[in-house]
Amino acid sequence: MAGAAASSVDRKIRVLLVEDEAINRAVARAVPKAAGGVELNEAENGEEAVRRVRELGTGGGAYDLILTDRQMPVMDGHEATRQIRALGVTTPIVGVSSDCLAADVDAFIKAGADDLTPKPLSKEKLDRILAKFGLA
């Protein structure tokens, strides 16, 4: 079931990071390495993220968590979230954005996300997110 915690010691938590900026992806790659037990996949824009999620479906190969930037070329994080939800995917989606005012949080939640965390992603923030959704 998408979003369920790893059922065995060997199964890593599958996270999809949706981020267009190379530097932000580089930083995000280092964080799961420090956290341990996380397998990070990457998409450079919302359209690629939707395609990857659609291909995996909602079965055992699905992602356990999706972290998405807001502002991206081709398709932004809000639209990607809407389209992923329209596929019937219930995987937790957390926005990772430079803008975290109340209005920004509301916009992401309205699009179907479960939470929003400010950039940059850190080990502490990732641990908190994993714990919040029962993935730790």
């Binding site: 900026e21 190379a22 530097i23 932000n24 580089a26 930083v27 280092a30 964080v31 390495k33 420090a34 930037d69 502002q71 954005s97 430079s98 803008d99 400010p118 950039k119 940059p120 850190s122 080990k123």
Partner: protein, 112 residues
């Protein structure tokens, strides 16, 4: 005796942190750097930031040089630079983006 290059680097980074140029996130990235697996992690990060930052600054300059400044495009570029600078812990750049974004937002509200 002159300090070793590593000690000099550590001292320089401490100075930059203490003077507010770098924030705690850079220090966290510094600690995450694994000497065996990814010895060039910080160097790669900083190089990417400088390259991407340079491009964004050029794009900002081009936007500002136009007879009619596209404030939405300007805002988007500032958000982009803010995100990059926060990811690498470049505190002063991030704060400058916040201030500029506030100014641009005020201009947008005035124009509406």
């Amino acid at each position: 005796m002159a300090a070793s290059p590593l000690n000099q680097l550590n001292s320089h980074i401490s100075n930059m942190y203490n003077s507010g140029l770098l924030d705690e996130h850079f220090m966290e990235m510094w600690r995450l750097q694994d000497g065996e697996e990814s010895p060039d992690f910080i160097a790669g990060l900083v190089t990417t930031f400088l390259t991407d930052g340079d491009q964004i600054f050029n794009e900002l300059a081009q936007l500002l040089e136009r007879p009619f400044v596209d404030l939405d495009a300007l805002s988007n570029k500032l958000v982009q630079l803010k995100g990059c600078s926060s990811s690498v812990g470049a505190r002063q750049v991030r704060l400058a983006c916040v201030q500029l974004f506030k100014f641009v937002s005020q201009q947008k509200n005035r124009d509406e």
